[in-house]
């Protein structure tokens, strides 16, 4: 099972693959996993995408990591940027081109084409380019070559017939040279590249995409084609971060997680009872309900169970850590003490600040850093502001899968808007709920001028859980669950329940056999 790594550590990818197909590792976290080892060695790969989607960075990273990590020198042919511009652009990722050039691990050649200076006066070929390629490859003993982007030739040279035959010759020449070549190409309308470069590169084609949604940009990568090799066919989100590119392979939906039989407390005795003994360790829990139903309290209850053995990481997307600590201390939970003991870490971010993928990466990074056994995301539905329900579902799927793989118990809260009582939850909640092991639903009851809370377990896989909706009281002593108290009209809550309890007590009997008085 592929495991996501955040640090660009030296990897030893599986280079076996199908017989005869050798791979050149990219060293890019995630990309080697989804290509089962890297790009096809000794063959050209086409990276296509629109302007600014990261083609050059991906190509450069392949060359830089090849030269610095895998002992494969590279030759970079840049048709658009000058060598020094290129070096400046990637210096922020920690790629030191000048030093690699000085060590003769990289050769950078700027191919300048000024279409206004070139007049065609008869038959020609591109042998000059071949001579320069050969020179650069021989100079450093290049095993990898980047051509970024060849298409500039098409705008510089008008004779398309000559260009096409020279492209064909170029790609077979690169194969003869046994270099692993990366060629970038600009995405065209309804075609992979504007000038049909995909015609010449039949081995591996990677498509990059940059989409802006709700003013937030997300990058995606798809392996369109990989001849003779297994590869992930989905779109994978990727990020250009401070160490270059990271791709998030969707390792999900394989359902190979180990199922723990160990129960952990929800932090509330009565809720544990309702769940038939608490949550399963490593399971995923959804707590949903309208605003003000107490989702954060249920979440904090679990967070407060952390001790020397279990650490909790709390992602709060609505409240700052100070707010959360204050609010929870008002209901008798001392989160501040746990934070001080470094058993609990609270991270607050606004969903709208970044794209979904950036959040996901940040969450992964925090998990790598803190090694929690509990992770709380409160509330996950806030991401609706930066993505549609399918994207949120994909993100939550990845996240839950990641946490399950690591055996981390996850509690997510979901704010339901406009869902009153027994109505239908929204699509995204239905989607998420299928990934969830335990689903707790919180209700508001408005009866006779007061608003009371109810709690029910909608589902809990593998547990004998209660099917009752109970009253749920948040007081300064904490959370209390009260068994359903019924009168002839049905479920009664709040002051109506208290009146009924008094009435029953005077008449010498409770209508609910297991009923308990309301206050702790």
């Amino acid at each position: 099972m592929p495991v996501f790594r955040l640090e660009p550590v030296l990897q030893t990818p599986d280079l076996k693959g199908p017989p005869g197909l050798s791979k050149a590792p990219t060293g890019i976290p995630g990309l080697d996993e989804l290509t089962s080892g890297g790009l096809p060695r000794g063959r050209p790969t086409l990276i296509c995408g629109g302007a600014g989607c990261g083609k050059t960075v991906l190509g450069l990273e392949f060359l830089v990591r090849g030269a610095s990590q895998y002992g494969e020198p590279g030759a970079i042919f840049t048709f658009e940027e000058r060598g020094d511009e290129l070096a400046a652009n990637v210096a922020s990722f920690g790629f030191d081109l000048p030093s690699l050039i000085a060590q003769k691990k990289l050769a950078v050649e700027h191919v300048q084409i000024d279409r206004h200076q070139i007049e065609e006066a008869g038959d020609y070929d591109l042998e000059g380019l071949f001579i320069r390629l050969a020179c650069a490859i021989d100079f450093v003993g290049a095993k990898r070559v980047l051509l970024d982007t060849l298409e500039v030739l098409f705008s510089g040279l008008p004779n398309k017939e000559i260009l096409r035959s020279e492209m064909r010759r170029l790609f077979s020449w690169l194969k003869e040279k046994k270099v692993t070549a990366v060629v970038t190409g600009e995405r065209g309308e309804s075609v992979l590249t504007r000038h049909g470069l995909e015609e010449y590169v039949s081995d591996c084609v990677i498509l990059l995409d940059l989409r802006v949604q709700h003013q937030v940009a997300t990058r995606r990568l798809r392996v369109v084609k990989y001849r003779g090799a297994r590869h992930g066919t989905d779109e994978y989100p990727f990020l250009i971060g401070e160490h270059g590119i990271s791709v998030l392979p969707l390792s999900s939906l394989q359902l190979v997680h180990e199922a723990s039989t160990v129960r952990i407390s929800s932090g509330n005795r009565e809720l544990d009872e309702m769940l038939g003994g608490g949550y399963y360790r490593g399971s995923s829990i959804l707590v949903s309900g309208q605003s003000g139903t107490g989702k954060t309290s249920i979440a904090s209850c679990l967070a407060a169970t952390c001790d020397g053995e279990r650490r909790a990481l709390y992602f709060s997307f609505e409240e700052s850590p100070a707010q959360l600590i204050r609010n929870m201390s008002s209901v008798g939970m001392d989160l501040a003490g746990l934070v001080q003991k470094k058993l609990l870490r609270i991270i607050s971010t606004r969903p709208s600040g970044y794209g979904l993928e950036t959040h996901l990466f940040a969450i992964y990074a925090a998990i790598e850093d803190f090694h929690p056994s509990l992770v709380i995301l409160d509330p996950i539905t806030d991401f609706a502001s930066i993505g549609n329900s399918n994207e949120i579902l994909a993100m939550v799927t990845r996240l839950i899968d990641h946490l399950k793989t690591k055996g981390i118990t996850a509690l997510l809260t979901g704010a339901l808007h406009g869902w009153h009582g027994e109505g239908s939850p929204s699509d995204s909640e239905v989607g998420v709920s299928s990934l969830i092991d335990t689903w707790i639903v919180l209700h508001n009851f408005e009866v006779a001028g007061e608003r009371n809370r109810g709690i029910g377990v909608r589902k809990s896989r593998g547990t004998a859980h209660s099917n009752q909706i109970r009253e749920f009281v948040i007081s300064n002593h904490g959370l209390t669950l009260i068994n359903a108290y019924r009168d002839t009209a049905g479920f009664v809550t709040g002051s109506a329940r208290e009146a009924q309890q008094r009435h029953d007590a005077t008449n010498g009997g409770s209508r609910t056999p297991s009923g308990r008085p309301g206050t702790p």
Partner: protein, 97 residues
């Protein structure tokens, strides 16, 4: 071809880049000589550079296509590519009147 023309105007210097003495290279050399004789008789110099022998020059002169003809002087430097069979384009491209 040897029509008497006044030997006036600036001196032209050309650099012709080729790759080996292929038939295309030879065509380009012959075409260039003809053009010079008929338009610039007595005031031109041609340097032929075979990049197969000095490949480093391809980088120095930013050569991609071959053959490439570079007009070094008079300024501005101009270049045309191809075997120079299209005389009109050569004259226009090199700004020869």
């Amino acid at each position: 071809m040897n029509r008497a023309k006044p030997v006036t105007g600036p001196e032209y210097t050309f650099r012709l880049f080729i790759s080996g003495l292929t038939s295309r290279s030879q065509r380009a050399i012959a075409n260039l000589q003809n053009i010079c004789e008929s338009h610039l008789a007595g005031r031109y110099r041609i340097e032929v550079i075979d990049l197969d022998k000095s490949p480093g020059r391809a980088h120095d002169e930013q050569i991609i296509a071959l053959p490439t003809l570079l007009k070094v002087s008079p300024l501005p430097p101009l270049r045309v590519i191809g075997d120079l069979s299209r005389v009109d384009k050569v004259l226009r491209g090199l700004d020869i009147r």
